[in-house]
């Protein structure tokens, strides 16, 4: 079954455990500045929102890459960057409408979410369930359930 990251900002407290887990998984150090998932703090609204690549089916980054360094991982559906092919031209960072592919100056390559090969570290690290890894065809299941609950005739009625 194809799975996807489900992000629920209303559950996010802004702790950045996901950013640390992501950077540790990919860089071997705790370094939020190198995380492929970012948590945004909308201070005046008192809201936090995690955000990362949603692994578009027809991914702009993949189509834009002139050297075919971005490929589909058949197992996870993630669009993976092949580091030894990437030339660091950054065209993909321009092509992505969501800003989720970014250049890493230390490596000279681009970096993006690769779903950690099917076991995303951010979802494991999230203490509040704001990031989960679920059936890609049913990311709306919980919301459907909530609305379905509203449609049940009330017991007293």
């Amino acid at each position: 079954m194809l799975k996807a990251l489900q992000l629920e900002p209303e559950k996010c407290t802004g702790c950045l455990q996901c950013e640390m887990a992501c950077s540790f998984e990919h860089e071997g150090v705790f370094n939020p500045s190198k995380s492929r998932i970012k948590v945004f703090n909308f201070h005046d609204e008192g809201r936090f929102a995690p955000y990362t690549c949603s692994q578009c089916a027809e991914a702009w980054c993949m189509h834009a890459c002139p050297v075919e360094a971005i490929v589909i991982n058949a197992m996870t559906g993630a669009k993976d960057v092949l580091e030894d092919v990437c030339v660091g031209c950054k065209v993909c960072t321009i092509a992505c409408p969501f800003g989720t592919v970014n250049y890493n100056a230390d490596t000279g390559k681009v970096a993006k979410c690769d779903l950690c090969g099917g076991d995303p570290a951010c979802a494991t690290a999230c203490p509040t369930g704001a990031i989960t890894y679920v059936d890609a065809e049913h990311t709306g299941l919980e919301r459907m359930r909530a609305h379905a609950a509203l449609s049940i005739p009330k017991a007293s009625a």
């Binding site: 407290t13 702790c15 950045l16 455990q17 540790f24 370094n31 939020p32 500045s33 008192g46 203490p127």
Partner: protein, 616 residues
């Protein structure tokens, strides 16, 4: 190990920034953060130095776990000599700046001297520069934070700075980071401003590596997170209610200092409690509390994010206060509320915003306002001294006006900025100051919780709950329940809490974890991160070493056993209501035995044997 092994020395007089290796020999004895920075301070300054002179130093220090995945591993501390108490000051803050400093490659920053002009430190990994603070001096914390982000065109910068209160010499100004997290107590911000240092702006992209045993570390921190999640306080109470969960509890046990500690229960407590923060208000149907929020790496998330009622008088035509910002924690709600007799939740939230916006400690501020209200009540001051403000107990208008005046150091705000000890002395009633060593009390009346009397009297930074939170044991039964009204066993309890807390404060972790964790949970995390073979026993010993080092600093600064006392009110005037009715604090039953088990002389000095045993 998880240290960067590097500190930045900033000579503000000369305008230089120089890296130097961290003293790892000291780190193995003092862990980091509070302990290690205290060691540096003791080695580098004369304890008799005027706290606001260039001879004082100000140290920003992280711990070995700061910037790691350990739950709550984002803390940093500001260590200096306090202008409020003349004792050592060590104020701890969360938010994100500590982890950013560590990620930029620095364990510690030592500021020394005084800059000829206002400056701020800009730190981008290895690059450190002192830049002119022309555009930010005279601005609030909130403005400064925004201006620095705009100037550097970097939304990911983290900023710690002082507000206008510090610039104006308010003696309890803090260093505020991330707009509403603060190294709040003892006037550490006042020291920073006295050096003409307005802000520290940091961007770190190096990350924190070098963990001694990554596999063991990830396992130990995961186990620790589960313990926090499964605990009723850290897993449910704090995220849902914040520290404000205590408001009704402490009021019920009759340990709620009220109206400058004249009383021990506040009739308006429920109106300013956590529960009240959840209640939808009439005007817009929204509750005061917008959400809970976490500091860096924190899986508890006790932080409060609040809004003020848009119809409230405090924010008429003031759009800058209509958004969400840092809401009331228990200590702030108590000081601004119970201690002044004000039960207007929105007025308290507004005063709290102002404390954050211009960087001053809401505990000391609220207590000082309470002292001013008592002076006004007995006629020792009148509207002549207050500039027309009717400083009456219970007056929300007096409270919020006072906050505005302290923020900018104007009018009666200058008197209030002195703190309650100097304020009450100035107007001839020093007995009305509810302080120890010149620092105002927090929110637990030691008549109703006996151990807290000893805690306050012996705290190395003046009255403070965070040096040995025996409330945990005496009220909440963590780790074991003790009777709050007896003094028996309290010296041992206080010593154990003091030593353990000193160790926790030196790791980079938050002391709130200790509602669920003991050193048995913490030591494996530190040990996996660092060399040194850390066990609960060696951590506790390091804590005791740190406590004695701080004590030695204070003695060398001229403090004596005579300063280990409480205001007469708490020793002579019995509690009037509640379970502690008829009680005073019986400090005299505890203090001599405390000195004894500390290995100190009868006049409170560590013996040569004690210093030798601890290798201080």
């Amino acid at each position: 190990m998880a240290w960067q092994r590097k500190l930045l020395r900033v000579d503000l007089t000369a305008g230089t920034c120089t890296p130097e290796p961290l003293n790892m020999e000291w780190a193995l004895k003092y862990i980091g953060q509070r302990g290690l920075a205290t060691k540096y301070l003791c080695e580098e300054i004369d304890p008799m130095v005027d706290a606001l002179s260039p001879g004082n130093k100000l140290i920003m220090a992280t711990g070995p776990l700061t910037g790691t995945m350990a739950a709550t591993g984002g803390r940093y501390s500001v260590i200096t000599k306090s202008p409020l108490t003349g004792a050592i000051a060590c104020s701890n803050s969360g938010g994100f700046i500590g982890a950013e400093m560590k990620s930029a490659g620095w364990d510690m920053i030592i500021f020394e001297g005084k800059s000829p002009q206002p400056v701020y430190l800009w730190l981008e990994n290895e690059r450190a520069e002192l830049l002119a603070a022309d555009g930010i001096w005279g601005k609030s914390v909130w403005e400064t934070d925004d201006i620095i982000h705009t100037t550097h065109q970097d939304p990911l910068l983290r900023v710690a700075c002082v507000g206008r209160s510090a610039e104006q010499g308010c003696l309890y100004a803090g260093v505020v980071n991330d707009k509403h997290r603060a190294a709040g107590r003892s006037g550490v911000g006042t020291v920073m401003a006295s050096k003409n240092l307005k802000a520290v702006a940091i961007r770190g992209t190096r990350g924190v590596g070098g963990v001694r045993d990554f596999k063991a570390f990830m396992k130990a921190t995961a186990v620790g997170k589960k313990v926090l999640k499964d605990n009723a306080v850290t897993g449910i109470g704090l995220p849902a209610m914040g520290t404000q969960v205590l408001m009704n509890v402490i009021n019920e046990v009759g340990a709620m200092p009220t109206r400058n500690m004249r009383e021990v229960q506040f009739e308006g407590a429920s109106k300013i409690s956590a529960e009240a923060m959840h209640e939808p208000r009439e005007s817009d149907g929204k509750p005061n509390l917008v959400t809970n929020a976490a500091c860096f790496g924190c899986t508890i998330a006790c932080g409060r994010i609040s809004t003020i009622d848009p119809q409230h008088y405090t924010i008429n035509n003031k759009p800058e206060y209509m958004g969400a910002s840092g809401g009331l924690e228990y200590e702030a709600a108590w000081a601004l509320g119970c201690d002044t007799g004000v039960d207007d939740l929105d007025a308290l939230t507004y005063a709290n915003f102002i404390c954050n916006e211009d960087g001053f400690d809401p505990i000391s501020f609220g207590s000082t306002v309470a002292a001013a209200m008592e002076l006004f009540d007995i006629g020792a001051i009148t509207t002549k001294e207050t500039g027309g403000i009717e400083m009456r107990f219970g007056s929300a208008e007096a409270l919020t006006r006072a906050a505005e005046l302290v923020a900018t150091g104007s009018g009666f705000g200058r008197d209030l900025g002195l703190g309650s000890k100097r304020l009450t002395a100035k107007y001839g009633h020093p007995d009305l100051s509810m302080t120890v060593k010149g620092q105002e009390f927090p929110a637990y009346d030691p008549r109703g919780i006996q151990g807290m009397g000893l805690t306050y009297a012996t705290s190395n930074r003046g009255a403070c709950h965070l040096r040995s939170y025996t409330v945990s044991s005496e009220i909440m039964g963590v780790p074991v329940k003790t009777d709050p009204l007896t003094t028996e066993g309290k010296p041992e309890l206080v010593k154990a809490f003091q030593d353990a807390t000193a160790a926790v404060d030196s790791t980079g972790l938050c002391v709130f974890t200790t509602f669920a964790w003991t050193l048995t949970d913490i030591a494996p995390q530190v040990d996996a991160a660092c060399e040194g073979g850390w066990t609960p026993e060696t951590m506790l010993e390091a804590g005791e070493r740190i406590w004695n080092l701080e004590r030695q600093f204070n003695l060398d600064a001229g403090l004596t056993a005579a300063d280990d006392t409480l205001p007469k009110r708490l020793l002579k005037d019995a509690a009037k209501t509640g379970p502690a009715k008829g009680q005073v604090n019986r400090l005299h039953e505890m203090l001599p035995h405390y000195y004894e088990i500390r290995g100190w002389t009868a006049d409170g000095r560590p013996t040569a044997d004690t210093l030798k045993r601890l290798d201080v």
